[in-house]
Symmetry: C2
Subunit: 245 residues, 2 copies
């Protein structure tokens, strides 16, 4: 078998969720849009990983603040309020550290797709947001899935943004392959793979160009990655071990 179905991964966009508003239940909306797999019907199954964008999580959690979109200084002021540290400034751009420990542009403050006059802030605790969504999917559909809350971050040294995981539940942030012998018998020294970021990126690829699709399902993630995970505890790098802060 040349294309190994054992090592196969599938990603699907979740469509038809409609606009998300403060107070909405993201897990319930995903459950209604996707349904459970049954009798050949496509839908969520045990072991799937559901990726939802930060934007709908922030909206549902009411993380919205009023800001004049036509006043750049108003956005900058909001960003500097949200940030716990500003690493770099260039024009209206701030590279910031957030209360979560994320380093990203403009403290994650998001003006697109949130309505004129409003900005979306990051969820207060995205790991907790993921846990709530996971619990609701279990309650509604009787499925045990992983959940990733994703956001779009830039990075130094490379142009372009990619989606990364800012919160997880029921799926590892990092899979630690240290000590696994390589094919020559030599011990691998440091191969901690941030699979949560790679899954978030794979989901982004199917979410559509105009970012109007707010969720995706990734199927085929190895079972031993589906454990209790945490972006805050596993992926956020402590400043003391960081060479670029």
């Amino acid at each position: 078998m040349p294309l190994d179905e054992i090592g196969a991964l599938h990603a699907f966009a979740v469509t038809g969720m409609g606009e998300v508003r403060p107070g909405d239940d993201v897990g319930g909306l995903v459950a209604e849009a996707v349904g459970a797999a049954a009798g050949g019907r496509a839908g969520l199954a045990d072991g799937d990983v559901v990726v939802v964008t930060q934007k709908i999580v922030s909206k549902a959690e009411g993380r919205l603040v009023a800001v004049d979109h036509d006043d750049p200084s108003a956005k900058v002021a909001l960003v500097e309020t949200e940030a716990v540290r500003v690493l770099r400034r260039r024009g209206d751009l701030r590279i910031t550290e957030t209360a979560h420990g994320f380093v990203c542009a403009n403290a994650g403050v998001d003006l697109s797709n949130v309505g004129d006059g409003w900005a979306a802030l990051l969820p207060v605790d995205p790991d907790r947001s993921a846990r709530r969504i996971r619990a609701e999917l279990r309650r509604r559909l009787s499925v045990t899935v992983g959940v990733i809350v994703s956001d779009t971050f830039g990075r130094p040294w490379r142009n372009g943004v990619t989606d990364v995981a800012i919160g997880v539940a029921g799926v590892a942030g990092i899979v630690d392959l240290r000590g696994t012998a390589d094919a020559t018998g030599r011990e691998l020294v440091a191969t901690e793979v941030c699979v949560a970021d790679e899954i978030a990126g794979a989901a982004e690829l199917v979410m559509g160009k105009d970012r109007s699709v707010p969720a995706a399902v990734v199927r085929g993630v190895p079972g031993d990655w589906l454990r209790d995970g945490s972006i805050g505890a596993e992926v956020v790098r402590r400043p003391a071990t960081d060479l670029f802060r």
Copy 2:
């Protein structure tokens, strides 16, 4: 249709390639391992993206140098020779800029899975490596595919490594969504997505934990991303626009 097959992506590991040696033809090896899709048989098809790891490309291109694995100073000396700039030093670790403009650990010098006493260097021109592999796949299988050469990079601020694209052919490095109106009609200001890195990361997820699988196929990439691309021209950030160099 709750799971949108239109926005579906599939990734498969390419198994059975065996050990790659200097002088080997990576495109030919992938072609032999995968074959062309025909009569219901799984295999490569037009529009697929083939992701191959840097390690087999470097080996095939003879980018191997002798180094004593048990002498850390020998590796450090090799790294400092390969680097055009050292950004940070900590113990034996060097965060470096390579001749390609990549910023990565240890100038991409790789001691795992290359045989005792040897180190693999990065390909001289990974975009060119990708173009050669793509041409060979076309010649052997009469398919028009995208090719990505991937490598495993760390990053500041976040623990764990992810696979990124160091060379591409027939697929975009970055898809520029600037100017695309979002769902509220507001113009998206900066949404240049590095889809090549996200595809490389998706491929990594199926390549297996011990990294012995050196290639994967990603199917379902939107047709308009399958254009001439270049990591060197699109993704490598010029120092003048970089806030962290």
